[in-house]
Symmetry: C2
Subunit: 194 residues, 2 copies
């Protein structure tokens, strides 16, 4: 998707402004020039990026989490995930989040891809990692973090996605990647944990 | 996922504040009580909701869009989508966005599900609709809206998802739903356009 081919679609920065900065949200409003030269504003969140982990137990079950998500007003079933710390490599973040939130450590890791989950108003990208050869341990939740660790088979997860019980975007994409890999269609390259 | 079962996870509103309101973004910071009674803040976007349409041509190709997404800094390949207007039913929004952005009108529609794409910091839900029995017409883009309408086979879309060329979350979930429906695993109930 090269830039020359896309000049009739591309927007150019005119001026940038940080309009609100919270403990977590960094809100920007940039003035941009549209392809026809008209100026407008683009409002968006600057996000540090995140990782999601698909942890595969030896019996084929998946390690997942039930967590209250305040903007949703309810508990959601999700794959383990978390924000990348400043300067942290995505795999290091994946290993840290899996251990902190579930207690599991994995000997083998494979990078699947990246998902951009709110392209209209956030820079967030979620790196998808598979983890296997798991060893259970004690979770070390951050203060203020509350979640249940649960396990499900792929069939159980698929049924909950089809029925609408699972609606979290990254988790639905986790199911897509998982089943493509299981079918031998989207191969993974595994590496030992560093 | 009933509330009684989840009392050890649930957060309760203490006080609410709108901290920034732009032309598009509505930013909130609520004070909440965690399950252990400790108070913290939750920062999030209030979003009106959106729809995504999977438009199926008679030859099996999909109608898609290439659009510059400013927070990503590049053109993204996506299924047609748009925000729900105040008081608008999701199907009416789906019909409107498909016609405005691509010029296509569909005689048959089916609701697939809803996706929550940024559960940590946005209330957004994206309703997924399938559309078929399409008739081409002229697009009527909003002023300031620039996009290319393109068509792809399911196989082409899948290859671009596997390779990392397509990273938009809703579009990846569109592929999941499409292939599950094509395989007869996630059935759809079709209705005539109202």
């Amino acid at each position: 998707m090269g830039s020359e081919r896309d000049s009739h679609l591309t927007e150019a920065l005119v001026s940038a402004e940080q309009v609100w900065l919270g403990r977590f949200l960094d809100v920007r409003r940039d003035t941009v020039a549209l392809p026809d030269g008209v100026q407008t504003s683009r409002e968006y969140i600057v996000h540090p990026g995140a990782v999601m982990v698909l942890p595969l137990l030896a019996d084929g079950h998946l390690v997942m989490e039930r967590q209250y998500r305040y903007p949703m007003g309810r508990v959601m079933l999700e794959f383990p995930a978390g924000k990348i710390d400043a300067g942290e490599a995505p795999l290091a973040c994946a290993m840290r989040e899996l251990a902190e939130e579930t207690g599991y450590r994995a000997k083998s890791w494979a990078h699947a891809g990246i998902v951009h989950n709110a392209i209209a108003y956030s820079t967030e990208g979620i790196e998808i990692w598979f983890a296997r050869d798991l060893t259970a341990g004690a979770a070390r939740l951050d203060s203020g973090e509350f979640l249940d660790v649960v396990t499900h088979s792929t069939a159980e997860l698929e049924a909950m996605c089809a029925s609408g019980e699972v609606t979290d975007a990254k988790t639905l994409i986790g199911l897509l990647w998982l089943q493509k890999w299981q079918a031998g269609q989207w191969p993974l390259v595994w590496q030992a944990a560093p």
